[in-house]
Symmetry: C2
Subunit: 401 residues, 2 copies
């Protein structure tokens, strides 16, 4: 991992003293509102042990599952004679975790915790264990950029569509033009994902204020070519709100639309440095595959390319057909010098425990053997947001320099 | 209720045919992912009966509660031998409802429904029963305005704070200047409330496209003077994420800050018609009281005032002291002619089943006896969003005309 980032994060922690640091003792309380409990959950002790609490006289089995352990793993809560269920886990490393309860087999968010996050159609509660590693994901007392939920017309996809646009804090303070990163979610995600699970706004705000990242605009489109907007914005045309969604059309349609529709819209409506050397593109998983194709097929438009945890290099078991870089992007291996000349950064990451790691490494080795300049980084974790937040952090710190 | 609004809503329903109209038959399915069910819930039949479903072999009692009935009321779900719990309610009138399950006494959202909403620190699932009354709250295939989560400096409150800003669809299409409505949430709410529970963005988009409302900017500040932003944006400074919040300071601090900080910020950063006749202020409940004081004490700044379901006229039982309009706003009764001359609209609403209704009527009668021009409207409902969405709809249709 980038040592620069680590050192500067220490600096951040020292400079900005406000944060989640004081410890308040709130005793577990009996239900205050008829029928439902409000109690201290989650509660984080000074040594980062975390206590989850929940009230029910009738439930038989309550468990908690979180991304501090493997998917599907769970810990049982234990009930006392007042009906208070409780478990203490950890110590947990500072991180921005998702978790949920299972109450007699029904998945629930923590009713005492106001922080939640949506992953596709499902909700989880959020646990922020404070410390250096989660510092960058937290709203600090610094200048903040704005986030706009923005509609644009896509002639390519024949609809008005929604995207999110982040402008850095300084954008409203001067008349300068700024570089742009086009940042893509993964399969099952939408335009909301990077700003919520990905903490992209907080990461950008915190890196920019420290001078680690350049002030930039970050555009977060919806990469599902059949969607107008996230399912929470535009309900599907059915009387069953959770109707099975149609198969995702993630092919050429979206890839053409970013070049034909999104970039022109952004450059007409924002103060943007509108040239190749000031345009970056990145994405995770499915969005990493889109980025690979869009970025490398349009090196006249993008100089900075970031691919996080893509399955396209062979996926989890050498799947997705044999990955043939030269077939995918003609000249990528045979004329690598031309790509090296066009691109300022060709950057690939993967979680070190992600089954995609092995095939990604193979692809990277092939690129290197063919003298294609590439930077490859592994981050601890599997196919999960922890890895993508670190990937974004490191990628942002390299852009437009 | 405004007949104009009703007639035009019929028009809307006819003009825009897309919407939630087709019926898809999705059978109740057994759990597809290990441990958790995904099934059709809620499912709305063509006659607007609504079926809720949930899987649990172990649960003892599961109920559903929604704002289609009185607070605290609930209906039991019944289990079959596969562990599928089910209840069919209604027919329910077209509306944008909130609901939650109780599983053995634990409040949960519907795990099969991707639509949720936050009310203060609590989440509920959302049920949209399609039809004329919920039409205006739905994202239609029309030009959409943008919503920006925006940070501004408040010298008055000595912090950077967050608000939401809606710009109408036409804003990015020309260089015109637009009027502004400053719209306030209630107690327990924050800058997020009108854009989520209040459906303010959809109401504005739909009314503007029909020509019922003028294109306008809508600013949704955080009216809690002690808050930087919603609890979901800035976690409170504690290791218990749900620590009991400090008492809300909703007095003079916020009221001074809108005039000193927010209006100047908006007028410096947006293309705004920056004069009294193009400024409106409104709010619900606590925000209605703020609006009463801010609006009537600054008639040089605001020409349009909307107060929805305020308790300040005597509250639920003639509380909040004896309401003395002349003491609250000197001259309001004795020099009502001056107020009539300054204001283009002094508009008050309340739910007809809200215990505040009686004292609001009394205050309105006092205003009228003193020849203060006021429009008072009752809407069916108690102290709830259904009333505030209708209040906003009717208020928007009267502004800037």
């Amino acid at each position: 991992m980038n040592n620069n980032f680590i050192n500067n994060s220490f600096k951040l922690a020292n400079i900005f003293l406000l944060s989640i640091v004081s410890v308040v003792n709130i005793p577990a309380q009996p239900p205050q509102q008829p029928g439902f409990s409000t109690t201290a959950s989650p509660e984080i002790s000074p040594d980062n042990k975390v206590t989850f609490r929940l009230y029910s006289k009738e439930a038989e089995v309550i468990t908690v599952s979180g991304d501090w352990s493997a998917p599907g793993a769970s810990e049982q809560l234990v009930k006392n004679d007042t009906g208070l269920w409780k478990v203490t886990l950890g110590p947990l490393k500072p991180e921005y975790y998702n978790y949920y309860f299972s109450v007699d087999g029904i998945r629930t968010i923590d009713p005492s915790n106001p922080l939640t996050v949506r992953d596709g159609a499902r909700y989880a509660s959020v646990l922020v264990v404070p410390g250096r590693e989660s510092e960058l994901y937290t709203v600090k007392n610094i200048p903040h950029g704005n986030l706009t939920k923005e509609w644009y017309n896509s002639p390519t996809l024949k609809m008005d569509r929604r995207m999110y646009v982040y402008t850095p804090a300084v954008y409203n303070k001067n008349q300068d033009k700024y570089p742009v990163l086009y940042l893509h979610h993964g399969g099952g995600g939408d335009e909301d994902a990077w700003a919520t699970m990905g903490r992209a706004v907080q990461i950008a705000d915190n890196l920019i204020v420290q001078g680690i990242a350049k002030p930039m605009i970050i555009v977060m489109p919806n990469g599902n070519a059949n969607e107008v907007a996230a399912i929470t914005e535009v309900q599907r045309a059915t009387r069953s709100q959770n109707a099975i969604p149609p198969p995702l059309a993630t092919g050429g349609g979206y890839e053409a639309s970013i070049v034909n529709d999104i970039i022109p819209y952004i450059e007409a409506n924002y103060r943007v440095l509108a040239s190749q050397e000031y345009r970056a593109i990145a994405g995770l998983s499915m969005g990493g595959g889109q980025t690979f194709n869009i970025g490398l097929r349009n090196t006249d438009k993008f100089a900075w390319i970031g691919i996080f945890s893509s399955g396209m290099f062979g996926g989890v078991q050498g799947g997705y057909g044999a990955f043939d870089p030269e077939k995918q992007i003609p000249g990528l291996l045979t004329k690598s010098g031309a790509f090296n000349q066009s691109l300022k950064l060709f950057y690939i990451t993967c979680g070190e425990q992600d089954p995609r790691y092995e095939y990604t490494q193979k692809a990277v080795n092939t690129f290197k053997e063919n003298k294609l300049d590439v930077i490859f980084k592994g981050f601890p974790g599997s196919h999960e947001w922890k890895v993508w937040r670190l990937s974004l952090t490191d990628f942002l710190s390299r852009l437009f320099k």
